[in-house]
């Protein structure tokens, strides 16, 4: 009994230490990737290629989800707001919730599921099939050649994806509110424009999506790079990418939102 207790405590301790070691390794990996970014800038076509795989190929899921999210927001918002006789404010509600929160956050979550897993699986398989070792033996630094371009592609793609998500969502909300429900076109837009602030809302949303881009991409890259070189290892790493990215996005969102709201007041 006592034995088992000690074993459990030891196990928890070991796991905690392992986590901390991994976190330290991840931080080192992040800094090293940043320091190896020179080649990505000198050979920008490498980054462009990766933007295609992370950004462009994520577009469809991002845009379709955005349209539906916007339409749902429009319906729900109208349903609640019309009780208070302010159904014109549905535009504000849709726009603010998208620009401030849903745009960056949902984009990041979808990005983690679509592009993040692809990155993890790709890097993990490259490692498992010794492609990264082969690169090293060819005197090519795999961090500079493989990791850094993907990192910058993710960081560049995310704000664009989030912006497209928000604007598509607003359009979805518009579709529901104006043609479907019959709210006045002018009131919808003017209320929105009067209440959405460029700095406070839009710029902050872009900052959020940039941070999410950094977090999601580096997590995906790290999990792939750190994956045990087996089929099971890669599949676990892919799962961890989604879990860790989602947690990181939601946690960071809370921290940033509290800073941004505090700064505004």
């Amino acid at each position: 009994m006592f034995d088992r207790l000690i074993k459990t405590v030891c196990g928890i301790g070991h796991r905690t230490i392992d986590r901390i070691i991994r976190l330290g390794f991840a931080a080192r990996f992040f800094l090293y990737s940043l320091s190896c970014s020179g080649e990505s800038i000198r050979r920008f076509p490498l980054v462009i290629r990766e933007i295609y795989f992370t950004g462009v190929l994520s577009l469809i899921i991002i845009l379709v989800s955005a349209l539906f999210v916007g339409m749902v927001l429009g319906l729900q918002g109208y349903n609640t707001l019309q009780r208070y006789g302010s159904s014109e404010a549905v535009g504000v509600l849709v726009a603010l919730s998208l620009v401030r929160e849903l745009g960056p956050v949902v984009t990041a979550l979808l990005f983690a599921g679509r592009a993040g897993t692809a990155i993890t699986a790709e890097i993990g398989l490259m490692k498992a099939t010794e492609q990264l070792s082969a690169m090293e033996m060819m005197a090519v630094n795999p961090i500079a050649r493989v990791v850094a371009p993907r990192f910058w592609a993710g960081v560049i793609s995310m704000p664009f994806l989030a912006a497209m998500f928000s604007i598509t969502g607003v359009f979805g909300g518009f579709l529901v509110a104006v043609p479907l429900i019959g709210i006045d076109d002018g009131a919808f837009w003017s209320q929105m424009q009067a209440n959405v602030d460029f700095h406070e809302d839009i710029v902050n949303g872009v900052i959020k999506s940039l941070v999410f881009g950094v977090a999601c991409t580096i997590i995906a890259l790290f999990e792939g790079y750190d994956a045990p070189p087996t089929a099971e290892g890669v599949s676990r790493a892919t799962t961890r990418t989604v879990v860790n990215s989602s947690l990181a996005v939601l946690g960071l969102d809370f921290v940033m939102t509290s800073f941004m709201l505090h700064g505004g007041n």
Binding site: Q131, S133, M137, M138, A139, V140
Partner: protein, 268 residues
């Protein structure tokens, strides 16, 4: 400077506190094909990584062209690696690049040659391995032997002075194996390079190499030319060359006494 391109001096290496190599001494002279043989898990591949500078020895040193590998900084190691070509066990071709782009990869990374010259060089290398016609295929469309040949073309793309082969025959049919065997010998002689072949295929290797090191339990247990070793009376070499199940290399992995182990029950 001697004519040994690669020298391994008194090298010990441990991984996760487990001693993998002890006191290894090896010489790889210019123009020769040298095999490192040993059972699975005897750390042969690790030796190649030590030569390539991907791992650091605990004590001792690997010298390439007289330079101690682990004392080089990153740029120094990269400079040494440009003189090396390595064929990985399963080729390790870049799956997102075509055969042509795989072979062109080292040239594009390390030279500023115009695309026309790169094309000529790539086709020359592919021609040497007989796969000039496969240039537009993707690695997923190649058979095991073909992808090994493409990887070989890529390994010699920059005309290295050291070519390393990690289990080049694993999982190949006899025809592909013969092709690779011939290629190792002919490429080595054509380039005037030094080849290091890590393998456990005795008969194929003995027919082709100049010198053999036998590695077991982290030590060099025998060395010599293939003819010497075939006649060798050393128990390990005899077991290995003739493929006997039990001998100096035990059939059982280290385990407590069988009888005691069975009687102890599940409460560990």
């Amino acid at each position: 400077m001697s004519d040994n391109i690669v020298e391994i001096d008194n090298l010990s290496f441990s991984y996760n506190n487990r001693l993998l190599h002890q006191d290894i001494n090896m010489r790889f002279p210019r123009g020769k094909v040298v095999a490192i043989m040993g059972g699975s898990g005897s750390g042969k591949t690790t030796l190649l990584r030590l030569i390539g500078g991907q791992l650091k020895p605990k004590t001792g040193a690997v010298k390439i062209h007289g330079k101690i590998v682990h004392e080089q900084d990153e740029a120094g190691i990269y400079a040494l690696r440009r003189k090396m070509g390595m064929l990985f066990q399963f080729g390790a071709l870049f799956t997102d690049l075509s055969v042509y782009d795989n072979v062109a990869f080292p040239m594009r990374e390390h030279t500023n040659l115009p695309e026309a010259i790169i094309r000529d060089l790539v086709l020359m290398k592919l021609h040497a391995v007989g796969l000039r016609g496969a240039r537009d295929l993707m690695p997923s469309e190649l058979s095991g032997g073909m992808s090994r040949r493409v990887a070989l073309a890529r390994a010699v793309a920059l005309d290295p002075s050291i070519i390393m082969y990690d289990e080049p025959f694993a999982g190949l049919d006899p025809i592909s194996m013969g092709v690779i065997l011939n290629l190792i010998r002919s490429l080595n002689d054509a380039l005037g390079a030094t080849s290091i072949v890590v393998t456990h295929d005795v008969h194929e290797t003995f027919a082709m190499v100049d010198y053999v090191y036998f590695v077991s339990q982290g030590r060099v247990v025998a060395e010599g030319s293939p003819d010497d070793l075939r006649k060798s009376e050393l128990p390990f070499v005899h077991q290995f060359v003739h493929g006997e199940a039990d001998g100096p290399v035990p059939f059982h992995y280290n385990a407590p006494d069988y009888r005691k182990d069975m009687l102890r029950g599940p409460n560990v």
